[in-house]
């Protein structure tokens, strides 16, 4: 593996592979023919590399032709959630051994006496204190006792410790003690995976930072071994190009770096989907879009505003109540527990609830005939004619309509005094409003007008509900991309190399010296440039974006404000302040232009832009789809107007320029698009389905 861009002249394939919970998806771009290739195989848990090779084989990809291999995987997040990571120890500032277990002392379910807290990844007997102390300004309050650290490291050597995390207070301000501790650990425990918190986060908040460092150490050995195995496999197959991994920001970093900063790839798949939506925006000249992904258990929404995805500085992994915080930049994605497998239930007081319990793939929806007895969103779609019993997954899985009807009646419809159709329709309406809350969370709640965005919808179950969700939110335009079932892999083809840096500074904007700030930004930028140069990026391809977390003096919560470079050239404090005031006003509806502001943390994103695949296109046809594209006409239920004879089209036979007025269904291998009455669909030259949403809300 070279990671130096010195690839053979004839290597022409950019290959992206995304491992998801169920499927491993592949998208490849042939730089010579301009062709896009897709592949899919079942994920092979335990031996993920086999699944990767299977997807490559399914599309006849020869890795000797590859110049770039881009990869996203659930391995890091699954290791965290399934708790099968390394035996990990934690070294922490004296007096603070328990902060990782104490957490933020919160209790979200206020009236529930049976609540639980997060469970640390490192138990107390493996958390050790280090004699040292820094102050908030980075000065030394107590010298580091190196001898004691060395002695401890030697003791750990006898305890099968595979990984060690280090958190010392105020290391975001001065990492010297953490660096020294790490060095000693590496000397004494040469085989262990060692992670110091400042390497991942130079932001204040010791609990969040320790949680991040521990998570990294905990997943590190497994993720690193996996990536090593994959490197080996690629090399065996004759691949001589560069191997990059997708981060939770959607940016790429070399596999060698991913093997150290493993938590940066936690949400690689969902992030790549947003990058795919961003690529479509760029191709079509759109600035604003919602990226909406619906699968079996969850629906996720991200936002592209003025051409750029919105990111966040931290996230909670594993459900709020018991969550482990991860404090690194990530794509800002809001998730709700509504998916195709979400179960509908009647609860006490005759309330109809949908999710968050999911039937998963086993037993799955009633329709799968694998023992599921509780009606799900997928079952509701089948009963309303939106899914086809004989053509689900291209006919590979026959759906059991009679059983679905029976269970819907017995469990939902009859108890509520409804018929099965109304019950199914009700389940979809509830699911749709729940999913619309995910979209609102990333738009209206951030001061953005959802109605003015185009919604790019993907994931197996997304296109079934896209039109209904759009109506719920007053969204006028929906776009179902080409190959929505391969969308995360497709998105990776458009990623750039990326490094993110954050440094907490706690300075008053009115008093800060521009030289000091400039020096801090520069040091982060230089680090990013060096990392990019190492992986072969040319200087002219480097793009730097600056931002700062700001707040009014006295406030705690800060918002991240993008800061154009010109502000620093001009040393323009008031421009920075205005930018913050304006954003505060958009986000929260108020601002205080006369109040002074704090600079809490400085942020830098260093991008190494990659050449993007050009626009691909599909064959052009006339306004009327070809006859062959029409598979038939079937009754489908719509809330407005009831059952209607509805034409069903085969997506792979639709041509650019085809237009279809709703109601209609468009079927493809892993997905069905519902075009509601009043909607109007047009196939664009890139093969996307662009749907103008009818004005009526459901």
């Amino acid at each position: 593996m070279s990671n130096t861009n010195l690839t053979p002249a004839d290597a022409r394939l950019r290959v992206a592979v995304d491992i998801g919970g169920t499927f491993t998806d592949m998208a490849a771009f042939d730089e010579v023919t301009g062709q896009l290739l897709f592949g899919k195989a079942l994920s092979t848990h335990g031996q993920l590399v086999n699944g990767i090779q299977a997807t490559l084989d399914s599309a006849d990809i020869d890795l000797r032709d590859g110049n770039l291999f881009l990869h996203g995987s659930t391995i890091a997040i699954n290791t965290l959630l399934e708790r099968n990571g390394a035996k990990t120890a934690l070294l922490i500032t004296e007096g603070f051994r328990d902060i990782y277990e104490i957490g933020r002392v919160n209790r979200p379910d206020a009236y529930n006496l049976f609540f639980n807290k997060h469970e640390p990844l490192v138990k107390r007997s493996l958390r050790f204190e280090v004699a040292e102390r820094l102050r908030a300004d980075g000065s030394t309050h107590k010298q580091l006792d190196e001898a004691a650290v060395r002695e401890l490291a030697r003791e750990l050597g006898g305890q099968d410790i595979e990984a060690v995390a280090v958190l010392l207070l105020h290391s975001y301000r001065n990492p010297a003690h953490e660096q020294r501790v790490k060095q000693i650990l590496q000397e004494e425990l040469p085989g262990a995976f060692v992670c110091a918190s400042h390497e991942l986060s130079q932001e204040y908040r010791e609990f969040e930072r320790v949680s991040t460092a521990v998570a990294n150490a905990y997943v590190g050995p497994r993720v690193s071994a996996y990536l090593g195995e994959l490197e080996q496999h690629l090399s065996t197959k004759g691949f001589e190009g560069d191997f990059y991994v997708v981060q939770s920001t959607g940016g790429l970093f070399p596999s060698a770096h991913a093997r150290r900063d493993c938590v940066r790839m936690l949400e690689s798949g969902p992030a790549a989907g947003v990058i795919g939506a961003q690529a479509i925006c760029a191709q079509l000249g759109m600035g604003d879009a919602i990226a909406f992904d619906m699968g079996g258990t969850t629906a996720k929404a991200g936002v592209i505003s003025e051409g750029r995805p919105l990111t966040t500085g931290s996230a909670l992994i594993g459900g709020y109540e018991r969550a482990l915080p991860i404090q690194i930049p990530m794509m800002d994605i809001h998730e709700v527990g509504t998916g195709g497998g979400s179960i509908a239930r009647i609860e006490t007081g005759n309330a109809l609830r949908v999710g968050p319990q999911s039937a998963g793939s086993i037993p799955g929806p009633v329709a799968y005939g694998r023992g599921g007895t509780e009606p799900t969103v997928t079952d509701a779609n089948l009963l309303l004619g939106r899914l086809d019993a004989d053509h689900f997954l291209g006919g590979e899985l026959k759906l059991d309509l009679a059983a679905t009807q029976r269970q819907m009646e017995a469990r939902i419809a009859t108890p509520l005094g409804l018929d099965a159709t109304s019950a199914a329709d009700g389940i979809l309406r509830i699911a749709v409003t729940q999913m619309s809350h995910a979209v609102k969370a990333v738009t209206t709640e951030r001061g953005l007008d959802a109605g003015s965005f185009t919604m790019v919808v993907y994931g197996g179950a997304g296109p079934l509900h896209a039109s209904a969700i759009a109506r719920e939110l007053g969204i006028r335009k929906v776009l179902i991309p080409y190959a929505p079932g391969y969308f995360s892999a497709y998105g990776m083809l458009f990623s750039d190399r990326r490094y993110d840096y954050v440094r907490s500074v706690f300075r008053k904007l009115g008093e800060v010296s521009f030289d000091e700030i400039e020096a801090l930004y520069k040091s982060m930028e230089d680090e990013g440039r060096a990392a990019l140069t190492q992986s072969g990026t040319k200087a002219e391809d480097v793009v730097i974006e600056r931002a700062a977390d700001m707040r009014y003096v006295g406030q705690e919560h800060a918002v991240t404000v993008d800061l154009p470079g010109a502000f620093f050239v001009d040393k323009d404090r008031s421009a920075i302040k205005r930018q913050f005031d304006d954003l505060h006003k958009v986000r929260y509806g108020t601002s205080a232009p006369k109040e002074p502001a704090d600079l809490v943390s400085l942020r830098v994103t260093v991008l190494g832009t990659m050449k993007k695949p050009p626009r691909h296109s599909v064959d052009t046809g006339s306004a009327m789809p070809e006859k062959a594209a029409l598979r038939g006409v079937k009754p489908v239920y719509f809330r407005q107007g009831g059952w209607a004879d509805t034409p069903v089209y085969k997506r792979d036979l639709l041509r650019a320029g085809n237009q279809i007025a709703g109601p209609a269904l468009v079927e493809e291998h892993a997905s069905t698009t519902v075009v509601q009455p009043g909607d109007h669909l047009r196939v664009d030259e890139l093969g996307n389905l662009q749907i103008s949403i009818g004005s009526e809300r459901e």
Partner: protein, 584 residues
């Protein structure tokens, strides 16, 4: 839509569910906007606030989870405002304010803003936000003995009249509070929250129509009532009593304050009689009538409809509360209220204790029941200005349940989704150095299921500051149930010139000045145990010893569990110890 009659149309369950989700989302967004824009730590980290939506009668439709103890105060404050002005004088664009302690039932720090929601010219409800202001004037730090020493009092007034802000009121407030810019920042955050709530609620009304929304709200409340009744019916009929006590009122040191509750369950109704809770006290631990009612409601909700959202008044129709005025939880003007939140938590725990024999599997042993945090003020060495900060809440142990250990170091029941503040943040903002924040060994009550553990925090002054603590429950230790042991209580120590003073009679110190290098230490209690410790799985006890939660001595003497030199379970010795203990 089926219609039973014109005034009460039956809304279909799908629409009800959609509106239920919508109501919940509105209060969640109000909460987000408040915390993201607030200025003081008590709002943005300790989440000492409550946001909610109310019917036009002032009944609770949805409360965003903030401060559970304010479950009643907000609705009663909205009702008081309606009564004060009369519907004819409440106009679109009005914002009604008060911090009257005897209306909200709490302290003057709780500024409460209410905005009427109009749709198609009709009043459809109210949006309301209470939040804790860092300072509202009055005596700094010391114990107070009447309401006048606690700060500025704003009766029910219009902060905004048909869209026009009452600047006179702002000027009066600004002159009467310390750190006025913070207070006004929090005021802005509260206005953001209620206007957001108003806007989103109007969107719901536009989207579904007032009939569907109001009909759904009625049905949601009816459904909460049905669940509450069903879960009350399953409690055996009877009269259940329990008692506990508070350390003192901060003035008469050592004079215990009795808390006695009587709960009567009959069929699907419960009556909580709080007549024998102590009379109001001289020191500042009183709370108002609405908080007394809230004690019963919080306990009732925990036992009958804990995860029923949105939190609404339907849940409480099957609950009656008997309580005279003039108790420590129904205090009258001018009794002092500044530390309103402490005693009610113990009242709630005592209700759980009373009902434990009837419903052991739904109840919980006692918890540390105090916020355990200090009030600190001083002059910042950086800018020479006054600073005021509370460091905490510390979090403490929760009680064990019939089949689960208690949760360790978690905030008390008065507060919900409260956060402590990062040490790195505190040290960057204030002249303090946190020497230690750790779990307190052996603080949990022993039991077949043990309680959660408490914590210990030591904070050193890097420049002089003044500290006040109002911590209670030192002497009334969190109790166990069904043979479970009691936990350690809360505690306090102060270090002057390197010497620890640990013999405080209670955990209350008022305006004690710490010099550079001095420190205070706060200790939170654990949770009580459940069932006999001799029945705890011996291997779990051994594990607790290895992890440092339980000492070898306690394992041996209380749990009857012996460990060998390598801290592994010594089964033979354990059997002997346990047999002897059972025989005794």
């Amino acid at each position: 839509m089926n219609t039973r009659d014109l005034h009460n149309p039956v809304i279909d369950p799908v629409t009800v569910e959609i509106i239920r989700n919508g109501l919940y989302a509105v209060t969640e967004e109000m909460k987000t906007n408040l915390t993201r824009t607030a200025y003081n730590l008590i709002i943005y980290e300790a989440l000492d606030f409550t946001v909610g939506l109310f019917t036009k009668e002032g009944d609770t439709v949805s409360i965003g989870l903030g401060l559970p103890m304010f479950i009643r105060g907000m609705s009663e404050t909205v009702k008081a405002k309606i009564k004060h002005f009369g519907y004819e004088n409440i106009k679109p664009g009005d914002i009604l304010v008060t911090n009257d302690a005897y209306t909200t039932g709490s302290h003057l720090n709780h500024f409460t803003f209410t905005m009427p929601i109009f749709h198609e010219g009709r009043l459809e409800g109210f949006t309301c936000c209470m939040a804790h202001w860092l300072d509202v004037g009055g005596t700094l730090g010391n114990v107070t003995t009447d309401i006048f020493s606690e700060g500025i009092q704003i009766p029910i007034l219009k902060y905004q009249r048909e869209g026009v802000v009452n600047q006179d009121l702002i000027d009066i407030i600004a002159m009467n509070v310390r750190l006025a810019e913070r207070a006004l920042g929090d005021l802005r955050a509260q206005i953001t929250a209620i206007t957001t709530g108003e806007r989103r609620y109007v969107e719901l009304l536009q989207r579904y129509g007032a009939d569907a929304v109001n009909g759904s709200i009625r049905q949601i409340m009816d459904s909460s009532e049905a669940v509450a009744r069903k879960n009350t019916l399953s409690i055996p009929d009877g009269v259940y009593e329990a008692e506990s006590f508070m350390d003192d009122d901060g003035l008469d040191i050592g004079k215990r304050i009795p808390i006695r509750v009587k709960v009567t369950v009959q069929g699907d109704e419960m009556t909580v009689d709080l007549s024998d809770v102590s009379k109001q006290v001289r020191g500042f631990y009183n709370s108002g009538f609405t908080t007394g009612i809230a004690c019963a409601q919080v306990a009732y909700k925990c036992l009958t409809t804990p995860t029923d959202y949105p939190v609404n008044d339907g849940s409480f129709r099957s609950l009656k509360v008997i309580m005279p005025m003039g108790t420590v939880i129904s205090a009258e003007r001018p009794y002092p209220m500044r530390v309103w939140m402490t005693f009610p938590m113990t009242v709630i725990d005592t209700i759980f204790k009373a009902l434990a024999p009837a419903i052991p599997h739904r109840s919980i042993a006692g918890h540390h029941a105090d916020l355990v945090f200090p009030n600190i003020h001083g002059i910042s060495p950086e800018d020479g200005r006054l600073f005021i900060v509370g460091i905490g809440p510390l979090g403490g142990g929760w009680g064990a349940k019939s089949k689960e250990d208690g949760v360790s170091v978690t905030v008390c029941i008065n507060d919900g989704d409260t956060h402590n503040s990062p040490t790195e943040q505190l040290e960057a903002k204030y002249p303090v150095l946190v020497e230690k924040y750790e779990i307190r060994k052996d603080s949990a009550g022993a039991g077949k299921y043990r309680g959660g553990l408490g914590a210990e925090m030591v904070v050193q002054a890097l420049s002089p500051f003044t500290v006040t603590t109002r911590i209670d429950r030192v002497h009334c230790k969190p109790w166990g149930l069904e043979g479970g042991g009691e936990a350690m209580g809360n505690g306090l120590a102060v270090r002057h010139k390197g010497e620890w003073k640990t013999d405080h009679l209670n955990a209350k110190i008022f305006n004690v000045r710490l010099e550079r290098g001095d420190a205070y230490k706060m200790l939170s209690g654990g949770g009580g145990g459940f069932g006999s410790p001799l029945e705890r799985e011996a291997e779990k006890v051994a594990e607790d010893v290895r992890e440092g939660y339980v000492s070898v001595e306690v394992a041996r003497e209380v749990y009857g569990v012996a460990l060998d030199a390598r801290q592994q379970l010594d089964a033979a010795a354990t059997n002997g110890l346990r047999a002897a203990a059972s025989a005794a």
